[in-house]
Every structure is written in C-alpha cells, then in structure tokens.
Amino acid sequence: MSNARVQVTPEQAASDQRFLTARKQKGTERYIVRHSKQARITHDVTIIACLLLCVTGLFVFVPPLTQLVGADVVFVIRMSHRVIGVVFVAVPLISAIMAPKGVAHIFKNLFAKWDSDDKKWMILFFPYLFMAKWIHMPDQGEIKSGQRFADGMLWFAGALMGITGMVMLLGSTVFTLGGDAYAVVLLLHDIGFFLIAVFGMAHIFLGAGIFQPYRGTHKLMFGDGLVSESDALYHWGHWARKELKNGKNVVEK
C-alpha cells in the first residue's frame, strides 16, 4: 500500500480521530475469520502428507539418493510412500464430501474474473518479490490474483499426483498396467512433482511467512485461522473492508 497521504474532509478527519481514540481506549484488536477449523485440518494434514511424499519420492526420483540408501531402505520408503499417498488422496476427498459448499467457494474464487487490480497485482508481483520495501501493491479480493494462479497450479498438480499415483499403485497390485501406459503415467507423475516442487516451495515461502512482508500468515492455516485487521487490509484490502464493514466474521480480542 502506498505511503502517500490521502486528503479527506475535516468531518471525515474528525470521525477518523474519534475512531482511533475509541480503538486505543478499548485496547483490543480486530481479527477476521479467514479459514474454518475443517479447512485448516484438511490443509495441514494434506500439506504434511505432501511434504512426506516429496521426501519419500525423492528416493526413487534422484538416482544418487536411491543408490545411497540401498534397495531395502528404498523398499520401506516406497511402501510408506504408498500409505502416505492414500492419506494425501483420501483426506481432501473426505473433507470435500463433508463440505461441498466450501469446495464450491474455493473453486468460485479460483476462477473469479480478474479486475484491473488483479491484473496490476500480477504484473507487479515479480518486481515486488525483489523490492518489497518500496513497491506497494493494489488491493485484492479474498484470494489474490497470483494466489489464484499458484493455488490453481497446486490443485492441478496435487490432483495429477493423486490420480497418477493411484493408477500406478493399482496398476502394480490389482491389475497390470502395460509398459507404454505405465510410462505415460510415470511421466505425468514426474511432471506433477516438478510443479509441486516449484509452486510448493513458493507457497511455503509466502504462506509460512518466511518472506518478511508475509510474516504471521502461517497462523491462518496452522494457527487459529484468524487474520489481523492490519494484515488483512495489507494483503486482501477489498475483502478486508467488506468483512470489516459487514462485521459478521470479525472477532475482537
């Protein structure tokens, strides 16, 4: 957000002053509910499973690692990869069945039409990553435009990994998958891993608040699911103002 001052009428300035004084006297801060408990549990279990899958998968994907630990250890790792894979697929599916409206809400946001702020945000995003101290970003709705793109890629890559993983698991146990079909599925699984590796690292860097302007955002999914008024206004300005005006999801503490 710009540091530039905006001119307001004396009446507005007086109202703002009263607002700030009342706020100070109360001594509380406002928070907006961003993620439900179910969404957080689903996200956290899935992301832990995903990280474990990435690590265990590396022992087949990276030849020096495979050779370093030997066939017996890789066998144990492969079996755990299969078990964790089932968790990775089953938990989001069960959660989706339990909350279909939540799934619809996620996908509605993912495919929401981009307004001019969304487009500008996306153009500014890469310069912002390297010049966060100076570049101010346009306000965003509930999901930032770049977040929609990155989340979409993670949804896609996750689904690709889940489906291809299940086909390979069943194709080597329940039925026999032919060599050519197996090759295609294996390649798709590798492509899914490539996408997960790149977008997942970026997601962790931003979502876990390793990147300084995003400090504290880890609490949204790994904490109580609340976002402070200040952080909400910075990251999702349009959404925050709507929520603060509406007051329904606002918590004071």
């Binding site: 530039a4 507005q12 703002d16 001019s116 300084q212 206004l233």
Partner: protein, 311 residues
Amino acid sequence: MAEKAILFDTSRCTGCHACQIACKCWNVLPSPTRLNENTFSGTHQNPPDLNGATRLIMTYSEADGALPNKPVAWAFGRRSCQHCTDAPCASICPSGTLYVHEESGMVTVDASKCVACHYCVTACPFDVPRYNGMQGKVNKCTGCVDRIEQGIAPACVSTCQPEALSFGDRDEMLAEAEKRLAMLKSRGYEHAVIYGAEEIGGLHVIQVFKYGVEAHGQVLDPKVSPITTLTNIMKPVTGVVAGATVIGLAVMFGLAAGYKRDKLAYNAETEDTISLETGEVIKHGDGQDTESVKEHITCNLPIGKKGGDHE
C-alpha cells in the same frame, strides 16, 4: 576384453527350446511344471511371452512360404534382451540395477539393487524387462556376464546344438552374419536381413532373419520412446528449476531484510483506511487502484517522484 555379441542365425534354428531351458537352468528360474499349469497359447510358443521368471522364449510364426518347395515358412525367433549399446533401460534406472557391463557391452542386472520402480519396464523398445511381483524385482536377461567373465559363452549359446547361436567379439559376429546373409540371399531368401548392427546404437544380439524382421517377431526400426526421453529430461530439469527457485527465494529473503510497514485500521463509517503509526488516511473508499504500474514501483522509492491518488 573386446565388445561381445550373441549371433542368432534363424536359418539354423530348429526351435528346440534348448536355449530357453538352459537359461532357466543356469539362472535358477522356476517354471510351472504341474499338468496343464501353463495356459495353452495355441502355438509351440510357451509360455506365451516373457514373464517374471522367464528371460528368454522361442517364438514361432507360421506363414505362407514364398518358395515352391517350402510352402510353409516356419519363422523361429528368439525373444529376449537385445543388449542395446544406448540401453534406455540402463539410462533410466535410478538404482543402478540395470547397467552396461563395460567389458562386454552386455546390459546386465544386479537384482539386489532393484527398487521396483518400473522405469526400465516402461523404457525398453523391445518390451523385455518383466516385473516379478513375488520378489519385487525386475527380471531380464543378464547376458550371462558371470559366464563371460570366466571365458564361457552364455548358457543359451553353449547349449545350442544346431549352432544357430554363437558368441564372440561383436565385430566377428557381424562379419559372420554378413556371410550367413549372403548365403541365404544366394538361396533365394530375398527378405533375409541382418538385425542389430545399427539399431539403438547397435545391439549385442545380432540376428540373421531368414524371412525378414517382422516374420520373426521382432520390432521393425525400434526407437527409444519420446516418453522415455522426456522422463530422463524431467529429472535434471526439476533439479535445476527447483535449485533456481531456492536461490531466487533466498535472494528475495535477503532483499526484504529489515522490511516493516505501518499497522493499518479501517473506519467503516468514513470508509478510510488509516495508518496507526501516523494517523494519516492512506486510502479512502474501496475503489480500484488508479496508479500506473510505474508509479507503484517508483512512488515509495527514496529517489524520484512521490505521491498517490487514493482520493
């Protein structure tokens, strides 16, 4: 040791299965032996294809013969690993289970290293490696490198009584194949051909096909699948891009060191977004941004124009 090769002259093969059985014996590979345990394949070819415990099979093809005195063209084949010079199974194997035996050029197997990833099964242009589910290991012809290292020919070659199979230096086997081909051509087998001289970088099983490649059940013009090539590319690409991502993120982290921003609050009554540090209104209302991209980048820089128009 010079590069070695097995030569298979189909014109000398009697289809006796001895090579198949010798392979089983030498490599201690089990076979169903109870009555009717094997499904009848409709031909002498048994088992119908390679499997987790069968590394070599004789194939049988009965076609109409072109010569008047030979109305039936019995085309015997030998289906097993071709020991490619540019073996895609070995290049894709992550565990070092399949590798090219440097001394002989044979593509051999160290099953103790197999992690059952199936990569080799998907990569072979001849559809040879088979996964043995019971053992959780891949199974294919080893080229009998254990015998070769002791100066003995592979088991299948040693047992071949009609001398359809022979073994030796690859150059010599190719020269011998040329002689056999010339002989077959002189006898009117116009489709006779040598297979393995150039395919997949040159095979270490050279075959002389009496009735042409396809008649003997082999792959005409075998190629490494583009899927295999892509799979091989994916690993370094993923490594490089993931590494670049980590470096990029580290640079971003470094450049953002010392970052801080004003805390904000929103007065719904006036629709003003206010800085709690300075008390100044930094945005009024909730309209779309009106600054240009350039202004977004430069307005907070310590140099150049400052300002905003969130009126």
